[in-house]
Symmetry: C2
Subunit: 356 residues, 2 copies
Amino acid sequence: MAINYTEDIQIEKSKTSKIANVDFNNLAFGRVFSDHMLVCDFKNGEWQNPSIVPYQPVTLEPSAKIFHYGQSIFEGMKAYKDSDNNVFLFRPVDNFNRLNISAKRLAMPELPEACFMNGLKELIKLEKDWIPTSEGSSLYIRPFMFATGQGFHASPANAYKFIIACAPSGSYFSGKVKVLIEEKYSRSANGGVGFAKAGGNYAGQFYPTQLANNRGYQQVIWTDDNTHEYIEEAGAMNIFVRINDTLLTVPTSDRILDGITRKSILTIAEAEGIDVEVRKIKVAELIEASENGSLKELFGAGTAAVVSPISGFGFKGKDYELPELENTYGALLKKRITDIQTNKSDDPYGWRVKVC
Amino acid sequence: MAINYTEDIQIEKSKTSKIANVDFNNLAFGRVFSDHMLVCDFKNGEWQNPSIVPYQPVTLEPSAKIFHYGQSIFEGMKAYKDSDNNVFLFRPVDNFNRLNISAKRLAMPELPEACFMNGLKELIKLEKDWIPTSEGSSLYIRPFMFATGQGFHASPANAYKFIIACAPSGSYFSGKVKVLIEEKYSRSANGGVGFAKAGGNYAGQFYPTQLANNRGYQQVIWTDDNTHEYIEEAGAMNIFVRINDTLLTVPTSDRILDGITRKSILTIAEAEGIDVEVRKIKVAELIEASENGSLKELFGAGTAAVVSPISGFGFKGKDYELPELENTYGALLKKRITDIQTNKSDDPYGWRVKVC
C-alpha cells in the first residue's frame, strides 16, 4: 500500500525538554539542537516510516557508505516568528527541489514532496517554542540525507536516511568579513558536483579556508579551477558586487550553487529599480574597480549568512578595502528580504509559507 | 602522559565468531566483515584509546559533521597468506602516508604512524583466519577516518574516529571490463581534492558511472574537466596504456590518486625492461592508436582491482575494441606483483611486510 506521508507520520514526543537550558539571547550558529527531529528511511526502493522522534543519536554499521563514499547532501532553511507568534518558512519548496537535484547528482534516491513538506511542517509546529525572536536570530533547519547501505565496493548504497534537525541560531558571522580571492585551490570542477549541496564540497574547502583564516581572512572567494581569473562563490554564500550603481553576480552553473537567497535578492533588486547584471566577473575587473573607486560594495548572500557585507578582499598578496557607505544596496536588500521572511512587509512573490 | 600506541592497544575479543557462516569459495567484494575492528578516537587534540573490539555499529550525533560536511577519508589495503600460513601486508607504510596526505587536505587530524601500523598489525594477527587463500581472493582491509564532532557551521570538526575493518573478498570485477571515456562529467578540479582518498570524490562519480553502466560500460575513464581531451584515472583504479611495446600512464597530480599499485607496476615494468613513459595521454592518441592497430592493451591498476584488463572503450558514441593478445604486459605485471604480495617470489624492493 502506498505510503501517505501526511497521515502516516508517527510522532513520539520527548519526555523532557532541553529548552530551559538554552540562552536565547546568546546563540551561536548551529551549536544547540531542539527537542525533536524528523526521520525517514529509504529501503527496498521506497522512503518509509516517516516519524518525528526525540533528537537522538544515529547508529550505523561501520561499512555504511556514508563513511566511505561521501553520499551525503543537505539543505539549509530557517523558520521565523512574527510579533503575533505566527510561524513562517521561506520558499521551502525551493529547498525541497534543490535537495532532489543534489540527490540525483549523487546517485541518491529523490524524496517525495509530501514527505519533505509535511514532515517539515509537523516538526516546526512541534518545535515552535524553539524559534528565537531576537534580531538576527532564527531557527536554523537542517534537512540532510546520507547513505546507510553497506559495502566496501565503490557504488551507490541501497539504503539511506533522511533527517530534519533544528538549531536555534544567532548570526553566522561575528564581526567584519574579509575575504581572500583564491588563486591556487579550487572548490569545484566543470562537470562536477559544485552545484549540489554535497557534503564533499564543504570538506574540500576547509583546508584552503584555514590557510586564509591564518592570514586574517574569514572566507575564501573561489575562482574557476582552470584560470583563477573569474570569481565563483564563497562556499557558504553566493557573492554580489556593486560597481557604481550596478549590482552584479555571476550566473549559476554546474560549479556554483543556485542559492535561494541569491535568486530572491535578484528579484527584489530588480523590483527596487536597481540595475542588475548576471554575468561572469573577472578578478581583474574587481581590482580595477577598487582602484578607480567604482567598487562600492561586496557582499555574500545565503540562508545561513543572510546578506553579509564584506569589508575588504585580498588577492596576490595585496589587500583591497571596500568603502564604508551609508544606504548600501546590501542593507536595503537585507531589510527587504528579512521583512518578507518575518512578516513585517507584504510578500508580493508568495515566498512566505505560514506553518502555524 | 604520552600515549604508547604499541602497549596501550586494548583488545576485547568477540565472544563468538561469524567465520563459520562465510563461504570462502564464493566471496563477493567487501560484503562480509570479519569479527573485529580497530577503533581510535581523536578528541582534545589527541588520538586516544586505540582498541580492538568486536565489529559493531557506530553511534553518532545527528549533528556529527560527517553527515553534513563530508570530512571522510579512507585507504584500501589487502592481507595475503602464503602456503605456510605466513601473513603479509603490501607496502602498508605507503597507505599510512597517503592517509595523512588525505587528512591534511581535508583539514582532518593526521594519525601517528605507530597508531596506524601497530593497530593494523594487531588486528590482522587476530583476524588471520579470515584471510582467504583461493586464487584472486584476499582479506581486504579498510582503514577510514571521519568527523564525529558536532555542529551546523561549515568548519572542520573538533573530534574524529579512525577505524580499520576487514572484509574477506573475491575479485572486484566479474567478467570483462569495458570503459567509457567521459566527455561531459568530471571527477576532480585543478586545486581540488582528486589526489586524496576523500569520500566525496567517490559519490560524485556514481551518477555518471550509472549512466555509463546503462550503456553497457562498467567504469568511466575520467578526463580533464577543462577540455576532456586528456585521460586521467578511472576512480577505482589508475589507467595504463600499451602502444606498440611502450607502457604509458599519466603523471599523478592534484587531480589524480597516487596509486600504490600504479607506482609498483611502474617499478616492476622498468625492472622487466619494458619501455615505460609517464606523460599526459590524449584521448585522440588512444583512438588513433586503436585505429592504426598500435594500441595493444589497456588496463586498470589499484589495490581492489589489482590489474584489470580492459576489453574495449567507448568515446563520442563509438566503440573501440582491444585486441585479444597472449603474453600481455597486464598479465605479466599482475603475476609479478601478486607473486611478491603472496610470497611466491623474492621481494627485491622490500615491499612485503610480514605480520605473523
